[in-house]
Symmetry: D2
Subunit: 330 residues, 4 copies
């Protein structure tokens, strides 16, 4: 029985906590959040202990693993503290917005032999995982091109955007990870465009709402990513992997399969499932299962801090490419 | 070069005439229609001779084959006249509305060794033909169930309906032929329901606008047919063949492949292609090619008068089933 | 907090018990099953009490509601016992295989003012429910035709089939309920065919493996149902509701959305989800939620014993139609 | 009646010639090709005159318009000769591989008031045209991103590739035109990657077989294009236009709509239609209709030499971007 504490009782912490409870070989021991009643309310609902002190929670002897769902700027210190106490860690992305800090953290974790998994949930989506298995099984032959469409249903609140680190580090970072997941090679060059087509005032933060990125690996494999902060029809999440023997794709998810035929249209389907908590509900559950299995079995972490570092590096390169108009070497 | 005359310069005659012109190894010699300017106008457009006399046209020495697209009650006499003069015939369905007259005509044609093909155009639709090839190739194993959806886009004019012979003989007759085409066995029992849900005044003709039929073969294969005189979304033509090894299906056709995604709906497609002249344009073309090929090569007719007779018999059985509430033996 | 006991610890009882646990406003108190360790094992896994005595479990004061998932021939007596003790009941279908016994039970329950819901799970499938909402909202106008495709992935074990009551009462009964759910009128006439195309030895039980049924309501609405005991591509569950203003349809479910494109084929998707426990997992959960809500709120039962009675009657009529070759009046 | 000559009796000339014949208000007068029997054979089949001399054919008094389907390096001189004789011209793409020569030709044509249409056939594809109409009608709101997938079914013969001008000028040039067609703004910046993943020996020509391009307009609209010389599943032609109010997409075409369901897969469809002559048959026909209509009505040319010039310029920019690793200003 894996004994788990969840740090952070917000939206993402709640998801992780519920998945710990639902996992029959794990036990949710405590939830820690320094802000107000968040931990207490969540703990009550999930029948576990609550704390205002993440550090003290990490240090409990009856905790084997911690899940970090706190604000980004606390990730590194909490992660290192947990690692220093021998706890396994599942940490939300990004590790940090500053790659220098991230590199130092990665080095520390490696030195300490820390067991840290980065929470790139999309890798655990059943369809994304099926695409990767198809690639691994050679179904597309050699991968030539990866096309990623990644669009949020609506602009996040201004306050959130102000501290998000920008669209590349906050949103596209998931797609950079998926690019690496499907390419199975490191991108070595990045080209990007950034526009403000939804909210021109994003210029205030030096941010964009509509971006396109191209990646290239040393062997010449190519990846395209398009992101928008606002797809009115819902949360658009599509992957297409094209290679010498064909291609594999996924589809978006909807709440039902109903199709409507009327005088003016046929095959009318619902808008897409909205938003990541619902769309990737299965992925979050399977992500924790993979983490728990790796911790219990002492196996390799399914996603590493190095993966988190690489995705952030690609995000930084994309931003640099937008600003310079050059292809940026990774 | 096959020398062809088209009898009947209406909607269906025009289609056939144009396909003769487009066929590189056939020549449209003449169009005959006793009514007004129809033949002259069509002949002018297609650059051939016009006549008001179908009989004289049949008898021309420079005609090898005739296509009969005249009113139903003239089919038998024209067909027999053409056969008696040694002309090959492609005749529109139905042969006649009276099965006694049909049986006599079939006997006469057989006695004379007549070369007559019945124009069940749907067999030549590329997708329907592909379904049949898949069945023949064993892709569905033993056929167990055939599901046919066949709905017109809108009620025909009252005047047409009054002389149509009723929905089973006029419209479902195509589906009875498709049932036989896909079952590859003769139905031996028919059950049917008929309703007037679109136009209750059809009771005046003893006709229906919404019907369901079930067919059974001696070996137990089953077929369902549903017909409606009015599908507001367009001309609905679907076949599904289910068997021991799986199933094969076709889809409807639309003019374009455009799909629309908006705030309220996704994957919105156009209404279906409308109506049979457009939907089955390829089928009409391929039907004539098959006829021309059979005539030139002296091969067996792809669809026979016996096929036309069987479809009419099933239509009669369906009507009897509606009226008696019994399964009717074919 | 609704206090629930589950009677029957088999496949279907396990599903219901897990849904009670997952429902945040219900409590699973006990599981009862007279056979061996079944109740004990399930109770252990779900952390509740176990019993070998369903009757004693019904009689517990700390039980508000019972879910009956025992063999069919015990349904009536357990249901009536629970009703007589004032317990709410969620009972698996069918009520009984004998309509005389069912009619008596319905009368008894009505006399006692019993609160019994019949477990026609498909009504709670999100897509089926969406179809019904669309009908209720007038999206298809007046319903004219309902087409139901319902195929199991494979023949049940011979032992199961021997006591199933036959395909109409065991399998098609779900489709009869869906027919009533979508038609929103009582069928008054039934026509049916039954064949043995998968296993001819079913003749021994007077049973069939491949059936087609047609239903008609007083106003002329029509419904077609096709069932097969063996669809090699998985559990096929499709509904199509056609009316004066268009149609609405659902699609089957698969585990992922992956599509494969190769040299020989495109858009290749997985086989269908298999079998009802997996395919209708959401439906079972929502069914219990609807039951719990009705019990707690003292509202009307979402599905009644009368619904169960009508579906059985249609099954009996279908069998009679197969045997007599007549349309059978309901 | 528009009197037309076709110059060039190869694959593309044959298509155009057949479309002239099929057009009821045009007349195919002559086909000219200096090489061997090509013109004679084609003219015989289409019942028109043949010539070995394109120049003399242009100069005939009974010719109103010429269609140029000759080798690329003859386009400019034939086009200018025709313009100087007052003939309308439909010229295959590209105008020339050398932008300097193209700019001079455009200037000459403008000076002479020449009536020249460039044959970007894809604009006339019914689905592409429907996408453009949807954009024009505001259905996607402001266009934000255009995604173009454009993959040939197989590598062209080495000899063809050697003189093609490279993938950007030969193949992607169509996609550059579609980008402009859908963006409705001029791209001002180009970023591109080029790889040799199918045939490394293309390095000999400085050519690529797998490319990705990003375009940006002054207002920040973005376009992605991916091309491959070899999609084993067929000729892949997809457009997706995303904007503030939603998106519109097209699908690929197949010869039939058949779908197969087996034990191991469902919804299995055919490979895509192959290759451009078949896939874009409707587009070629409608392209000529649009040309004929513009000539007869003295209306503006639907596609101009300026359009051809811009597409070539984007191709040159893409190549420069690959070679320099910079975004290239148009």
């Amino acid at each position: 029985m894996l004994r788990v504490a969840v740090l952070g009782a917000g939206r993402i912490g709640s998801i992780h906590a519920a998945n710990v409870v639902a996992n029959t070989s794990s036990k949710l021991v405590a939830i820690a959040d320094p802000i107000g009643d968040a931990a207490r309310n969540l703990a009550e609902r999930l029948d576990c202990e609550a704390s205002l002190d993440p550090i003290a929670t990490i240090e409990r002897d009856d905790i084997d693993a911690v899940i970090i769902g706190t604000p980004t700027d606390t990730h590194v210190s909490l992660m290192l503290h947990a690692v220093s106490r021998g706890k396994a860690v599942l940490c939300e992305k990004p590790i940090d917005l500053d790659i220098v800090k991230v590199d130092a953290a990665v080095a520390d974790i490696n030195r300490l032999g820390g067991r840290v998994m980065l929470a790139f949930n999309r890798r655990f989506d059943p369809s994304a995982a099926a695409l990767r298995r198809a690639i691994d099984a050679g179904e597309v032959g050699n991968v030539h091109q990866v096309i990623i469409t990644s669009r949020d249903p609506g602009l996040a609140p201004r306050e959130y955007l102000a501290h998000s680190g920008g669209i590349f580090r906050d949103m596209t970072i998931h797609d950079f990870d998926m690019a690496r997941f499907f390419l199975r090679e490191e991108p070595i060059e990045v080209m990007a465009f950034g526009s403000r087509l939804i909210d021109p005032t994003l210029e205030e933060f030096g941010d964009f709402d509509t971006v396109m990125v191209q990646l290239r690996t040393a062997s010449g494999k190519q990846c395209h990513i398009n992101c928008s902060r606002q797809a009115v029809y819902g949360y658009d999440q599509r992957f297409e992997i094209f290679g010498s023997a064909g291609q594999v794709l996924n589809d978006n998810l909807r709440s039902t399969t109903i199709r409507r035929w009327t005088r003016s249209a046929t095959e009318v389907r619902e808008p897409l499932m909205n938003f990541f908590l619902e769309r990737y509900a299965d992925a979050y559950r399977l992500e924790f299962e993979a983490f728990a299995k790796a911790v219990r079995g002492n196996g390799p972490m399914p996603v590493t801090v190095q993966d988190g570092r690489q995705a952030l590096r690609l995000a930084d390169c994309a931003l640099e490419s937008v600003l310079t108009g050059h292809a940026v070497k990774v």
